[in-house]
Symmetry: C2
Subunit: 418 residues, 2 copies
């Protein structure tokens, strides 16, 4: 291919010079834009252009990548934020006709005359060679780990229902602590459902179309529907994707016991890692088959068939705990050594999980609604006597996170980070 003439220009310094040039962006900075402006930009070789952010930092961007990521309205729908350009019509060896620097960003003209414009902030945010960002603003609040002594200000029902600030406070607590309490909720299923729907729709499962409500009447022949104590667990280990959030509201209670138990699973995982890195690895890699098969017409198992108790993303961060020892299917795939390691690690996990210093108990008196992250916080209850009516809901993970993100991020933020 003929090497084309490339304009290589020095960049006009257009942003405030007071922006620290070596600042490591955090999520907030990234959303606001880092203010980074390159000192030079030009052609690096046949396949890439470069941007010198400063004397020590240079990014390179592939020509093909630039063309594929053109953000003009013809190539990327400004409303749907979907790619409109057909990636496969772009020549794999495409080279720009010209590269020009402007105050707003990098202007590139392509062989067919198409013009692309890339904001400096956007280029800095998405620099991949090298990666310059240090955090991912889409990921949300960093978890704040807690133990039995967690003191969390309850959120007020009126504030959550009627103000964006109250809603934001509620979602911030759920993202940060994995749990939040709302007080002053009317003692009805309808009010509890309205609270859930203030966040997003309710996830339907084979148990319930929407919000559920029950007494200990053994209606579903499940230990959940008895008066027995339940150890700390997460729900839905048998689903490919367990429910993201759970909400409980004890509408009526005349009796003794029946307190609710919550444990910060991320904290217990951290403690396990400190105590035994090898046990942590075992619970992060041993695949546990699970099932839900109580109802005659139900036989739910996850796809793939089994997941570890501790689930990590590709970057190594723990993002999900799946733990309900009662729903575990027959272990029939481990070697003798793996089986011994698993049981040993499980005992260590159990010891930490049931340590009183990790157990947060709450009597959940009527009017006080709890919502918690079923991917992080394990729940249980003490045995009870008497009459108890409880209602609750499963909420979907992606939609809860979407709601939290949408409250945090403006439309401009979306454009910058997506």
């Amino acid at each position: 291919m003929i090497r084309r003439h490339i304009q290589q220009l020095f960049i006009k310094r257009s942003f405030s010079v007071s922006v620290p040039r070596f600042h490591k962006p955090n999520a907030k900075k990234q959303l606001q834009g880092t203010g980074a402006v390159p000192q030079r930009a030009g052609i690096a070789n046949d396949r890439q252009i470069y941007l010198d952010w400063n004397a020590r930092k240079t990014s390179v961007f592939h020509n093909f990548w630039l063309r594929d990521h053109c953000r003009c309205e013809q190539c990327y729908h400004p409303v749907t934020r979907q790619r409109l350009i057909d990636t496969f019509t772009i020549p794999r060896d495409i080279q720009p006709v010209s590269v020009e620097s402007t105050e707003a960003g990098l202007q590139v003209i392509w062989p067919d005359g198409h013009q692309s414009s890339y904001a400096w902030d956007w280029l800095h945010t998405h620099s991949y060679s090298p990666i310059l960002r240090t955090s991912e603003p889409l990921e949300g609040k960093r978890p704040h780990l807690w133990r039995s002594d967690l003191k969390l200000d309850p959120v007020h029902h009126e504030a959550v229902m009627n103000t964006d600030e109250g809603l934001r406070q509620w979602l911030d607590q759920i993202e940060t602590y994995g749990i939040s309490f709302v007080e002053g909720v009317p003692l009805t299923v309808e009010a509890t459902e309205a609270l859930a729907r203030r966040l997003c729709f309710i996830r339907q499962t084979h148990y319930s179309e929407g919000i559920w409500s029950f007494t200990a009447d053994l209606a579903h022949a499940d230990t959940a529907y008895t008066t027995l104590a339940l150890g700390a667990h997460t729900d839905n280990t048998y689903f490919t994707e367990p429910a993201g959030l759970q909400m409980f509201h004890k509408l009526e209670f005349k009796g003794k016991g029946g307190d609710s138990l919550f444990v910060d699973g991320f904290n217990v995982a951290k403690q396990l890692k400190e105590k035994s890195a090898s046990a942590y690895r075992t619970l992060s890699s041993t695949l546990i088959p699970t099932h839900s098969a109580g109802d005659e017409n139900v036989l739910i198992v996850p796809t793939p068939r089994a997941y570890p108790i501790l689930n990590h993303g590709p970057g190594g961060a723990l993002y999900q705990i799946r733990y309900n020892n009662d729903d575990r299917s027959t272990l029939n795939h481990l070697s003798s050594a793996q089986l011994e390691d698993f049981y040993d690690a499980l005992f260590m996990w159990h010891e930490l999980l049931t340590s009183s210093k990790n157990e947060l108990w709450d009597s959940l008196s009527p009017g006080r609604v709890v919502i918690f992250d079923n991917w992080r916080v394990l729940h249980g209850r003490s045995a009870f006597t008497g009459h108890r009516r409880i209602c609750g809901a499963y909420l979907p993970w992606d939609d809860f996170k979407s709601r939290a993100r949408s409250l945090r991020l403006s439309s401009l933020d979306k454009d910058r980070v997506l």
Copy 2:
């Protein structure tokens, strides 16, 4: 711990000797029971007992595993099929007081007097040291790969709605081919919804509470709501768990074009693997961030943030394709070499995906409803003019698989395989 007296008995031969002793069980056999009976059983060492299935095959089972997997009604609820015994009350070094063989299976007495009984079939099915089973009956039908010339008998609406046999035929086709057509469906949203609900409930998303119905009005800020052609893709690449099944029914059409396209993604993946093992590896390992951010209050991305196009289980089997190039977010995490490899592999994938020998076209005339596996079959459409009203639904993966399994497996089968 004091070594206890163990009864070591030779097994009574109680099953028919005509059962082939070296038969490799398949899924069907496994469900029916292999009929395998051990020739001897006894103590192997402090931690394990053994079963000699024949002169060449011996299984060992850990004492702890046996106690943890006791299937008596006190330890495992016969209806809910949940573990009732508290695993953590079992001594890690537990040893049986006695081991006895009976016609029904292995009888074990524990130090506290508890008696456990394990059916021979169950022990054979779940032998883990070594693994004796050769297939997983919970996984369902093996996929039958297809190309443009797929000829699939349509299923009749009446049969699906009114008979278990029709329903089973429908689900069998979906599991085997990833697609099925139902004919004779009344041209109403209500009848289409009833058909969907014959399978299971409809998955709610931010798009729709239940069944959706639309004309080309860009209602949801998504290219799906236009008259444009859409290349083959899967939906919901931005969900942590994409919808399992999709159903479409073209209720009204006066115009030209608008045919539906279906491609067997598992077959295209196979072709890619044959053409270039390295491109296949690239699409199986390169993480692609995606998003849905068209609606103002929506910003959905998956957790973890990015998934490969080709997703494999721990055993190495391809189980899910996630591919919608238009919903791809900015690639900002790949090295230059990874980026080049990715684009090269993506072009090979695209070439196979758009090969006419892989494209199944169907005009989907009103009354002919398609349902397809959104984890396997990619769909698209040609551009169209005129008036077109289409309705459809997302159905949840786990509940669809549960429905198919429940039709296949009896209550006894459940006991044997879980």
